[in-house]
Symmetry: C2
Subunit: 197 residues, 2 copies
């Protein structure tokens, strides 16, 4: 099993059109740390500075923050093959106001900012990988902002379960509500309404 640890990440890199040679793969492996987390364990807690960018191999994590009243607002879910980080904290070294915790037992690959610099220095072609990764992220965020401006909560919920049926199965409804920016009660009423029509 251990030998396959990096497969998912290497596949993603290959998919972006970069072929790494065996030596480069070794470099990459040497710069990522493998780590397991238990369900409910924190990867990052508010007011800590995020040391690692995490690539999720197994499990699913959520990134959320709190408002003045103490309500949680989930910014994103990251299942297998996705990344989890507060990039602002990671790159600028500022304490984060995010919490990132594991909703299932997780396995992740983590890279520090220093190691990321070394990695990009040794394999500059990987800039292309990040270029495409962040480009797709921008497109996704764009659609999310657009949706929040022009669609109702009901439409956004229906879109969510259609787009991420997998996540819909794995996380409780009140967390989906948090992600959508509504209360669990409101989501419950929307679901009720849906089942009637």
């Amino acid at each position: 099993m251990h030998r396959m640890m990096y497969k998912l990440l290497l596949d993603k890199i290959t998919a972006s059109g970069i072929d790494l040679d065996p030596l480069e793969i070794e470099v990459l492996k040497s710069l990522f740390y493998y780590r397991k987390y238990r369900k409910h364990q924190y990867i990052l807690q508010e007011s800590d500075t995020l040391k690692y960018d995490s690539f999720i191999i197994k499990g699913i994590v959520r990134s959320y923050l709190l408002d003045v009243k103490g309500n949680e607002h989930i910014i994103k879910f990251s299942p297998e093959g996705w990344w989890a980080a507060d990039l602002a904290s990671f790159f600028s070294g500022v304490p984060s106001d995010y919490n990132i915790d594991c909703m299932e037992d997780c396995e992740v690959l983590q890279i520090s900012q220093v190691n990321l610099e070394i990695l990009l220095d040794k394999i500059p072609r990987l800039h292309k990988f990040y270029h495409l990764l962040y480009r797709n992220s921008v497109i996704a965020y764009n659609q999310r902002v657009a949706a929040s401006l022009r669609y109702t909560a009901l439409e956004r919920y229906q879109d969510f379960i259609k787009k991420y049926p997998d996540i819909g199965q794995r996380v409780p409804n009140h967390q989906i509500a948090s992600f959508l920016g509504i209360t669990p009660q409101s989501l419950s009423r929307l679901r009720n309404q849906m089942s009637k029509s």
Copy 2:
């Protein structure tokens, strides 16, 4: 004046840690088109496919889309030094549901998808430029999503005028309202409320 056309773009590239030699600069110049637009002119209209990614040299543009009722929702403002595009349409060739129009007389540098590929092929180091550009975009979008989840309309408005005093001066309030996701009437009431306290 004409000779300075590319200065802003070249400065941005330099700022990302890439030094282009004179030959590379010529390559770059040959792949961007320079174009002027009049105030109120469209760069992109809904249901067209976006052919060019536009770097704004002068003026300010807005990207918006319409909901079923015909209301405009502004997704972003792009002043000098920023980019304007519907990346989903630009990269996948799908017709866009965005409109991009100029709020002032504008000058822009435009690059087609084909030319962008040629550019990155000839100067692969530019992947680093886009890597950092989109990374910063992701961070900005992230903060916007976070703000829409945890702050009130009033707080978001105050944050907006503090963060983008320049844009606040240049665009009418009802468009800021649209950007914030509220009606012009609501914004007017918030401003009224602010002036009282």
